[in-house]
Symmetry: C2
Subunit: 261 residues, 2 copies
Amino acid sequence: METLYVVKIGGNIIDNEAKLADFLQSFAALPGNKVLVHGGGKLATQLAEKMEVPQTMVDGRRITDAETLKIVTMVYAGDINKRVVASLQSHGCNAIGLTGADGNAILAHKRDKGGIDYGFAGDVDAVNAALLHALLSLKMTVVLAPITHNGHGQLLNTNADTIAQETAKGLSSHYNVQLIYSFEKSGVLLDANDDNTVISTIHPAYYEALKAEQKIFAGMIPKLDNAFAAIRSGVEKVIIGKAEELPALIAGTAGTSIVHE
Amino acid sequence: METLYVVKIGGNIIDNEAKLADFLQSFAALPGNKVLVHGGGKLATQLAEKMEVPQTMVDGRRITDAETLKIVTMVYAGDINKRVVASLQSHGCNAIGLTGADGNAILAHKRDKGGIDYGFAGDVDAVNAALLHALLSLKMTVVLAPITHNGHGQLLNTNADTIAQETAKGLSSHYNVQLIYSFEKSGVLLDANDDNTVISTIHPAYYEALKAEQKIFAGMIPKLDNAFAAIRSGVEKVIIGKAEELPALIAGTAGTSIVHE
């Protein structure tokens, strides 16, 4: 099977024009099959402020009322997604930007959890692997915005990490999938305050040992649990590290690799 | 060759939620290959007002400065395009929304005409018929937002009528293309004030006669010139009429058909 890179970039890259430009250039240079998943960063919050639509966050998740849904759709699927696509095109990378509604790429349902009304927030039900495989086979690079739909006409604001993970899992029957999560730090750190203590490889038994010795920063545990869930679901490898180091992350000379054994 | 319908809807439909819902339901019900091109309506102007970005129009064209480009990209490619796609999906029509940057669908250049600086306004250079044909062959309905790119990373605000016409022309080697322009009136009228005087069919000789007798409303002449240019470039038929009457326009029982002879 061919290799597919599913790369997720977060707000720290999206919000910084120079960093984003550099990242897109190195992403465009990656050979072969690629999917890019982007988050939203601070741009949606800034537009909401300008439009005087108050924003509520619960546990780091935005409560998405109807006005906020319009704002995130405009910012994520309009401004960010199309700037990213146009930039990739300028680097000779034939990108196509999609939300989950486009081609029914990602079906979701309105979140209903823990008694909190998250509004128009979506939890993913299904990734349309056949569509994504067809587009990749046309030699296109898919750029996913974190907006999905419920199939009944409702758009839904959806967590980009989850979209990346579900996409990687969904495509693992077609490709050897490497899932790259980029964030602010250089990788999973033994000492959360020292960026030079990156753990290069974690397999399941080592992860259990690290957790038992409480050597994993609590904030990393959900991310790592998700990473291990992904490799149990067919993803070849999950890599966690800095977007600025993308080529080295792919080469295995930077970041943390989460592997089967 | 199979038939392809390229349907352009204007602001009067986009701005009216109930009309848009009805239109999308009848559009979704059209059999076979379809492309929908939408304009922007008043929503971009409203957002610009809210964001206090002053708008300048020259000859009905928006002067697109950098802030305005961001606004139209958010409104056209984000809000409108994704609402349309999600609605079509809910009617069982597998829609995929694109700008000209996506898959390099429509390449354009910054307009440079008549000494007026239109800002980031694009004139179309090329429609990527191979891409659109491939997506249509995957049984998807393409929904085009009036945003293109120049291939060097710059998005461009582009007239939706022109996108519809160039798309129809570009796909005429793959399909028998019928290009439907929807607007406020029931068709081309003999008496501009009487919606019951629709001319059902206009061929080139009749058009010359109507113009010679000054029976065509001046505002219609550029639209009709474009329609005849389209059929000279391989488009089978151009239909002008009300979006509310889409099934009748297709059936030939409403609107004005512009034909070869």
